[in-house]
């Protein structure tokens, strides 16, 4: 199974397309479907077929939502693709991947601690994972644009 199969699988879930420089293919996915995409990837290509490289959370304050980008690297071609989803800023909840993909642990814990995204089903989420104590005590998420940190 080649890289074409992987792209067609990602495309079947996507509601929009785009490109992140330099020429990384971007698929926009509904937040409810993110877990399903990863389940499908694991089922069809196995754990050796890709790895989750980075989770990038960005606070889009003007739009009132938080953007989550899952950067995955398809193996063995080693091509980076982006799965992008948007969740509301007031109630940023999304399904966790950590039980099906342990590599999501570091990214989810960091995004929760610094941006306040709740990954539903991740038992390891905690404040103070990275953020210093004074920031945690104030209940602020440092990477939010209005955090004042």
């Amino acid at each position: 199974m080649g890289v074409v199969d992987k792209h067609s699988l990602l495309e079947s879930f996507s509601v929009g397309r785009g490109v992140v420089k330099p020429s990384r293919k971007l698929y926009i996915i509904e937040p409810g479907n993110v877990r399903r995409v990863f389940e499908a990837l694991i089922e069809k290509f196995g754990y050796g077929g890709f790895y989750l490289s980075t989770i990038v959370g960005t606070d889009l304050r003007d739009e009132g939502r938080i953007r989550l980008d899952y950067y995955i690297v398809l193996l063995p071609e080693e091509e980076t693709v982006v799965l992008r989803t948007f969740i509301p800023r007031e109630n940023p909840v999304i399904d966790s991947l950590v039980d099906i993909l342990p590599g999501a642990l570091s990214g989810e814990c960091e995004t929760h601690d610094l941006l306040g995204v709740v990954f539903r089903g991740n038992p390891f989420l905690k404040r103070g994972f990275f953020a210093p104590r004074d920031v945690v005590e104030k209940g602020e998420y440092p990477l939010r644009k209005d955090s004042g940190v």
Binding site: K21, P22, S53, Y71, L75, D134, G148
Partner: protein, 399 residues
């Protein structure tokens, strides 16, 4: 006299904190190791002792200042951090440095790879108990540091990368001196590789310890020599071919054993590959113009857009995401994902089933780099006082 009474000692789980300050660790990290007898049954990784809030700091400073901020994320791999960030900016601006600059960038990064791999192998020798070997490797590592100093002006912090090129060119004399240093270094690295391959004590200590399979490496998002030691063929230099990596011949090093020994051997082989690459660069350095851009003429405004660049740092794939909203002088978002972030936090599964004494060896074989500090302590030499700055002050707020 026979045994009259048998006392059964119940096996209880003991919690052994390794770190954040521990002789086996060179940086602050807490491994909460739960052991039954000598056997490790669970490991929790606690972080946050060293978080500096660099990503937030990048949002508070201009695109160009951030080149020097990201160079201070890590001392050992500062050139790769700056290179990855600078290439993201070049993607946003659609700028392309000339060939000479690209070759010089690769030279700086590969020199860094040699000294980083020598450092962690030296630390491993120390952990195993060979302190003299540690000293010997560190002594030879000085040659690389000297070569890096000749090239960039700094033994450790290079500050060598700039949008559109590099910040210093080299002349014929410097080229020859770096080449001579590398030629002298090569037989030493070959010798150390042989020691790690053949010495009975080292092999016994490392072989079969901390085994990671191919699918475990990919499902836990492990990168770099840690993954390559388990046979995963990932290397951003090969796949992304950034800068001059598309033109310089080198081999992708992998091993199939998946244990601590394989990871260290991957590092020695890569160090040798890097020395070969550097000699190739010095012998084939293109002369297609000045590699040092005129910093006054660089564009001040960045168009809106986003770039995601990857670089093969010494410890694995390092990624930078830079987003510009086109409105100001500062980036809207900078996301840094260092290789140790994945390798350390996600690898708690690896320790289970091994003995307590193997924990430092396994952790060192991952080449941990905990470069995320919370605050900076400022020491005022004139007033002889010291005080702390929090994140806000560091980002330019009022003192």
């Amino acid at each position: 006299m026979g045994v009259t009474k048998i006392v059964e000692i119940p096996v209880v789980t003991t919690e052994v904190p390794v770190g954040p300050q521990h002789p086996a660790l060179h940086e602050p990290l807490l491994l909460k190791v739960y052991a039954e007898g000598e056997e490790v049954v669970k490991v929790e990784v606690n972080t946050g002792y060293n978080h500096r809030g660099i990503e937030k700091l990048c949002e508070r400073n201009t695109f160009y200042r951030d080149i020097f901020v990201v160079g201070r994320v890590c001392g050992i791999c500062n050139a790769v951090h700056a290179n990855c960030y600078v290439r993201a900016l070049e993607q946003l601006l659609d700028l392309h440095p000339n060939k000479r600059a690209q070759y010089l960038r690769v030279l700086a990064m590969e020199l860094e790879r040699v000294h980083s791999h020598m450092l962690i192998n030296a630390v491993m020798a120390e952990i195993v108990g060979f302190e003299t070997l540690f000293m010997q490797i560190m002594l030879d590592r000085e040659r690389v540091m000297k070569a890096k100093e000749i090239l960039t002006g700094g033994r450790v912090l290079a500050d060598y990368m700039m949008v559109g090129g590099v910040r210093r060119d080299i002349d014929e004399e410097k080229r020859q001196r770096i080449r001579e240093l590398l030629l002298k270094l090569k037989p030493r690295v070959e010798y150390y590789r042989k020691v790690f391959e053949e010495d009975e004590t080292i092999v016994k200590r490392l072989e079969g310890v901390g085994r990671i399979s191919y699918s475990e490496a990919t499902s836990h998002s492990l990168v770099g020599p840690t993954a390559r030691g388990s046979g995963v063929k990932i290397d951003s230099r090969v796949s992304d071919k950034y800068d001059a990596y598309g033109e310089i011949p080198f081999n992708l090093v992998t091993r199939s054993e998946g244990d601590s020994w394989a990871r260290m051997m991957v590092r020695w082989d890569e160090a040798l590959e890097s020395i070969e690459m550097n000699i190739y660069i010095l012998e084939h350095l293109p002369s297609d113009g000045n590699p040092v851009p005129d910093e006054r003429r660089l564009p001040r405004r960045f168009p809106p857009g986003e770039a995601y660049t990857r670089v093969e740092a010494q410890r694995g794939e390092l990624t930078y995401y830079v987003m510009s909203d086109g409105k100001g002088q500062n980036p809207y978002r900078v996301k840094i994902r260092t290789p140790s972030f994945n390798n350390i936090i996600n690898s708690a599964f690896m320790y289970i089933g091994y003995s307590l004494a193997d924990v430092p060896v396994m952790l060192t074989s991952l080449d941990p780099c905990i470069s995320c500090m919370e605050r900076v302590t400022v020491i005022d030499l004139e007033k002889n006082t010291r005080y702390r700055l929090d994140l806000k002050q560091l980002a330019g707020g009022k003192l």
